[in-house]
Subunit: 139 residues, 4 copies
C-alpha cells in the first residue's frame, strides 16, 4: 500500500497535533506495514527508581500507531483512540531510550487496528506491547 | 474488608511514589469496595483543542486502582501494573476536572484486578473506562 | 432510555441469531442500564475437572452485552463484536449455573461499549469480567 | 530457547486436557518463538450466515498460546488464562479452515504473555488477533 505521508511529513504533523511530545519522538523508520519511533527518555518520563512510567509507554504506543495510520490515510483525518490494551512485561532499563515498532493490522472504513511493541534500547526482549483501535471519522 | 490505609495515608504515599502527579490528584472518597479520586486538570494534561489527553486518563485510572489496592494491602507492596485495557468513550469537557471511581474485583495472592470509571465533572456519562491488573510481589 | 425489545423479544431473537446457545441462555432481568442472563451449564461447557471453559464465559459475556444493545436499538441491526477484553478471576463452582450482568456504557452512532460481570450461582465474588465493543452498521 | 514438548507431545496433551477440541486442532508448525495450529472448521463453529463464531476464535487463540507456553515449560504446569484481549477485524471466509500463529512475548516466573494472529485459509489479511496472559503456578 502506498504511503500518503513520509517521515518529514509525519514529524511536522507531530509538532502541530502533539506539541507536548513532538520534541521527544522521532520517526526512525517507515516500512510497508508500519513504522518505528524512538522516544528520547527524559526525567519527566521516569518514576522514582528510574524506570519509565506506564503513561509514557502508553503515550508512545498511541503516537506510534496513530502515525502509522496517518502515513496511510494522510493528515486530514481526526482519528480518535477508542481502545487500548497494553501489557507491561519487563522493566525498561534506566537511562535507555525506548523504541516502538507499530504495525497496522486493519485500516477499515470506520476502524483501524494496530499493534505496538516497545523495546528498551540495548535489550532484546520487549518491555511492553499494546494493541490500539481508532475510529476514523466519515469523510 | 478492612482498610490498611486511610485517605491521608494514601495521599502521603502518592507524594513519595508518584511525586509528578501527587499535587494534581486528591482522594475524595474511600469506600468498602474502592475509592474515588479527582484530577485537577492543568494545561499539561490537555491536547490541542482543550480535551484531556489519553495518557492522562490512563495515568488517572492506573493511580486510582493502584491506591485502591494499597488501601487494602498497605504501603509495603511494590505492586506493578501488568495489563490495562482502556476504552475512550466520550470527549472530556474542556476546563472540567476529572473524577475516577476505582473498584476492586479481585485481590489475590499474586494478581489484583480492578476497574476504573472516569467522569468529566458535570457530565453524567463516563468519558472512559479501564480495567487494570497488578502483580503483587511475594512477601 | 426506552427499551425497544422486551424479555420475550430478546429470547426470540436468540433463537434466530444464536440457535446453538438459545436453549441454554435465559434473560432473567431487564433493567434501565442493562440486563441479566443465566447460563444453564451443561457438560459441553465444562473442561476436565468440572470448571466452565473460557470460551463458554466469553460466549456468555458476548451474548449478554449484545442483547443489552439490542434491547435499546431493536433487532434490526447487525452489530458485530470488534473487541473483547476479558479477565478470568476465579474458578467457577462445578455444577453451578452462571449469571452474567451486562451494563451499557456507550451507545454511539458507530460504536457501542458494555461491561459484563459473570458470577457462579451461590458465590458472591465474580468469576470473570469482560468489556466488549460492537460496531453498529450505518442505517 | 529449548522446547520441552514436540508436536506429537503437544497433540497428546490436547487429547487429555482439551478433549472437546483435540480432534479439531492440529499443530502444524513449531518454531523458535511460537507455533501454528489449524482449526478444521465444522458446523458447530459457525453462526447463521456461515461465519466462524467469536467463541470459536477465542478458543483457538487460547489453545494456540497455551500450547506455545507448554512447548517451553512442559506439560506439568497447570497454567490458567487470566486475561484475553481479542480484536475481531474481518469476517472469516465461509467454508475455510482457520490458522492461528501464536508467538510468546514473555515467559516469566508467574506470568506468561503471548499473541495470536488468526487467518482464514486462503485470505492474506488476518481475521482476528488476540493477546493472552496466563498465570503459571508455583512449583
Amino acid at each position: 500500500m502506498e504511503h500518503k505521508m513520509d517521515i518529514p511529513g509525519l514529524q511536522s504533523f507531530l509538532v502541530e497535533a502533539f506539541p507536548q511530545v513532538a520534541g521527544e519522538i522521532e520517526v526512525t523508520d517507515l516500512a510497508e506495514d508500519g513504522l518505528t519511533v524512538r522516544l528520547a527518555v527524559q526525567d519527566k518520563h521516569l518514576r522514582p527508581g528510574g524506570t519509565v512510567s506506564g503513561p509514557t509507554m502508553f503515550m508512545l504506543a498511541d503516537v506510534a500507531v496513530y502515525l502509522a495510520i496517518l502515513s496511510r490515510i494522510g493528515p486530514v483525518a481526526l482519528a480518535v483512540t477508542t481502545n487500548c490494551s497494553i501489557d507491561f512485561m519487563r522493566k525498561p532499563a534506566a537511562g535507555a531510550d525506548l523504541y516502538c515498532i507499530a504495525r497496522m493490522h486493519k485500516l477499515g472504513r470506520v476502524l483501524a487496528v494496530g499493534d505496538a511493541m516497545i523495546y528498551s534500547a540495548g535489550q532484546e526482549a520487549p518491555v511492553a506491547r499494546a494493541t490500539l483501535t481508532y475510529a476514523i471519522p466519515p469523510k
